[in-house]
Symmetry: D2
Subunit: 164 residues, 4 copies
Amino acid sequence: MIPLPLEPEPVSGTEIDKPYRGAFDGRTHRFALRVYFEDTDAAGIVYYANYLRFMERARSDMLRAIGVDQRATLDAGEGVYVVAEANIKYRAPARLDDEIVVVSSLDKVGAATATIHQRVMRGQELLADATIVAAFMSPDGRPKRQPKAWLELFKPLAAKEGKE
Amino acid sequence: MIPLPLEPEPVSGTEIDKPYRGAFDGRTHRFALRVYFEDTDAAGIVYYANYLRFMERARSDMLRAIGVDQRATLDAGEGVYVVAEANIKYRAPARLDDEIVVVSSLDKVGAATATIHQRVMRGQELLADATIVAAFMSPDGRPKRQPKAWLELFKPLAAKEGKE
Amino acid sequence: MIPLPLEPEPVSGTEIDKPYRGAFDGRTHRFALRVYFEDTDAAGIVYYANYLRFMERARSDMLRAIGVDQRATLDAGEGVYVVAEANIKYRAPARLDDEIVVVSSLDKVGAATATIHQRVMRGQELLADATIVAAFMSPDGRPKRQPKAWLELFKPLAAKEGKE
Amino acid sequence: MIPLPLEPEPVSGTEIDKPYRGAFDGRTHRFALRVYFEDTDAAGIVYYANYLRFMERARSDMLRAIGVDQRATLDAGEGVYVVAEANIKYRAPARLDDEIVVVSSLDKVGAATATIHQRVMRGQELLADATIVAAFMSPDGRPKRQPKAWLELFKPLAAKEGKE
């Protein structure tokens, strides 16, 4: 007889239907994810552009965690964050099924931009190390000051404050 | 003074670094995820091909839950699942930040194929309804019988058994 | 001395800066593309969802060829095509660097939907065979009649006409 | 009567089935492409990671143009290029249907790495400006010297030569 393989993982009805959320550990935000087929390429490793997808998931989760609602702001026509600059060093490749963690911290906040340091880790191994400058943009594509309320939310997180 | 917004979400060090896992509710597998910018397109909704990415994540998680190690099998040169057929009805669009759940059940298992029914839900609302036929493929691209041990693992899950 | 390898491919300044366009061969639209790393996965083949990206490029090019301007219609808030149904059979995998052609024909046009038959070919070999139902959607997510002018543009292409 | 809209674009049977190829203009490689729905996100612009997909297509085309066969080298287990470093400045967003050109030049070639300068242009407007360091990697994930024959092919293209 074949044992039902399901029993070791009982479902707590509501919990399982909640998507993953990262969390802060002090000022550092941690966001875990697994590598799926969609993330890899024919070289057997994660395609280099896809680390930027992982890092954006982590940044969006970080914003959500401090109370920033990106969709409401976008829908209201107020603006949206875009990436103004990305500098990334790839140290070691991630592979299918790997469990990785994106570790993010807010380096600097200016009037219209925020600089985030993001590392992609597999356990203690650094896979990618990036500095991302996000800029707030109006719907017509111009740089715009970040909502004042958000700047307040960022304050406890930022290592250094830029000139506002 | 600005309250630290982090306190309501204390980190249980090890837990937060574990990627999300779905789980079975009886014979049905549930896999939750959130919609990120990468998933959407200029129409403001999830791009139609990306539902297939969501469904593949769910199928891979389902396989992992019952003990199938896809990467080891691939690395050993034994073969890999490919999709032989996908029939999908899109009922309503998902949008940025939506929390959705992929609900999967194994419809039928044959010697070389498995048929999976997958629904993408937002709460009680059906967003997409798909039938996916996965086929095991040898490294040279030919259909191949699924590993016998896996067929045993599938048995408790399958609604109907195909002819083997 | 090393010969300059560039000479066999002189650049006709303006031509090289024009993106690829497919074209009609009678009622059938042909759209060629090459497989890049981004399209493949760790199994060494094109990831199954990416055929839907290829097919959407071909459909968009087909619309453009007959004079439909999707972006203007989207920007004007009039609506956008979404996929209501996709049925796809995967026959053989495409691999890195493969040259493939998406062959599309308009099967049926209704008031709010269009049914397109799309085959992905590598030379004479059929890689994927799909039927796609596209539906016109208003910005608030509801089905909507296709612009009348477009229906006229479709007429010469459609094999059978649906009831309007 | 509705005129057949197809006639202005007669098909030269073989030509239309050839995927787009970029070309060199002196030492500079040009690669044109159009923005499709798959490339955009809910902000109505090209998702930031997708510029890296565009740039990789251009680099792969550049390699192909000088005679480098990446797939054969990968299949032979000799190695593959990975990106070791990417530094990108985003100047202005690309949008749906935009015609853009990736302009690439080889900045420096070392024993195991090549540095490429890549600009994404929309007409005369600079959309993104990037420096990419590509490194040759053995199948077990270690840095490896580039094939000697390839270094010879690169020589006519490189602005400055690194120390070998």
